[in-house]
């Protein structure tokens, strides 16, 4: 392990408690958003890997796990989004302008889970069946 990977909790203090388990360091940041985390990650030379979006049961929102690679160590930052701009449309901060590597996965999450990423266009849609966002992975509304 590299020196930075040994000091992850001290180096990246976003509030919340770091936990190392199951192939990653995990944190639910209490005092930072995805953009704050992205800026800090990029400042330390981390590489953006992907975002895992998971629809929570009973309309509880969408859980977004942001995975970053720091010198061979996976860091995962979990955010739960519940804000809606319109009926059944969730909103999240885009990090595309900070990390070009996030472009496709944000578009995919937009198409799969009807999440709007603020500050960017997600059209044209490119990975879905039919013409309606959300038909692939999101549970059908009652």
């Amino acid at each position: 392990m590299t020196p930075i990977a040994e000091r992850i909790p001290e180096t990246f203090d976003f509030g919340g408690t770091w936990e190392e388990k199951s192939g990653s360091w995990w944190l639910v940041p209490e005092a930072a958003g995805p953009r704050d985390v992205a800026r800090a990650m990029l400042a330390h030379g981390a590489r953006f890997i992907t975002i895992t979006a998971t629809e929570l049961a009973d309309g509880g929102g969408v859980r977004m796990d942001y995975h970053w690679d720091l010198d061979g160590t996976v860091l995962t930052f979990t955010f739960t989004i519940r804000d809606k701009t319109a009926e059944s449309v969730y909103t999240a901060e885009s990090i595309y302008d900070l990390s070009e590597a996030a472009n496709w996965i944000e578009r995919e999450i937009h198409e799969y889970f009807v999440v709007e990423f603020t500050g960017r266009e997600c059209e044209p849609l490119f990975l879905r069946a039919g013409q309606t966002p959300g038909v692939n992975l999101r549970e059908e509304d009652e």
């Binding site: 998971t54 490119f126 990975l127």
Partner: protein
Amino acid sequence: MKYNVPMGPYHPALEEPYRLDLVCERETVKDAHLRIGFNFRGIERLAESRNYIQVIALMERVCGICSNIHTLSICQAAERLTGIEPPPRANYIRVVMAELERLHSHVLWAGIAGKVMGFKTMFMTCFALREKIMDILEAISGNRVNYAMNRVGGVNRDIEDPAAILRMVEEIEREMTRVVIPVFTTNRSALSRCEGVGVLTHERAVACGVVGPTARASGVGQDLRRDAPYAAYAEMDFNVPVESGGDVKARLVVRALEIVESCRILRQALAKLPSGPIHPEDEDVEFPSGSAVSRVEAPRGEVLYCISWEEDNENPTRVHVRTPTYANMPAIRWMVTGARLADTPLIQASIDPCYSCTDR
């Protein structure tokens, strides 16, 4: 005057569908826009309705080239979640399978690259050689495409005669170093199609987050086998080839050198194969609530699996796959911008794209 050239979804050079809209001025590409999704099968969604044994079989079908890597990744994720440790012999067999898969993927790519260059003799040579690698995979697993080797906690089949497999690997290594690698690294016709073509700068490679040989050909020296070792890679001695050119030639050279390194790893893994079981005796797998992440260095680069489970549930609540081509494909836009229109099929082929993986 600018004009648009739509390339695909029926691609002139590659076997899988995607679309590249090229904006050209005279013979030069000025910009490009990619569209994928023609192979979308909803595999991640399907996984949520399968139990853990069925999920392994399902994820093996994400890709027809690196099928083993997908089962390895999801089994590793499941092992991290359940705390099951594969026995040492299973870890070595996983390395053997992963490197054989890398060899056959790289040789397949070399053949396709030969075909795209108009070098059809090389295509035939590479595919004949690939057959021999697939023979080894078949000798070990009984299968030629979906090997069904990995299970949670180990592997399904043993390598009963490592010496025989070693002899087959040595024969392949001889042919690789005698024929394939010299052609791609020294032949004037091959190099003239590749040198200075489709450059992805180091800075752009970092910004795009590209992975695998595409990253290593742009001077980004990342390789999970060394940086975050899994299976038995920590016990293997090998080099990670890195080139700084960022062009098609660099991507070609990196893969050629990786073929040599794969043979080196195979020799070590087969020679040191430890004795013992290949999976735990206890067949029970019980998933606690939680999430796990697993990464593997596939032939095209990093694969990431993130799985989530609820205790007492038969099926996962989420299986997310980030494949290497998904990370590499957006960079094609930067590789083809400024290139000659005629070079674009080779530039696209140079990342060894897999649209089946990308679309899932």
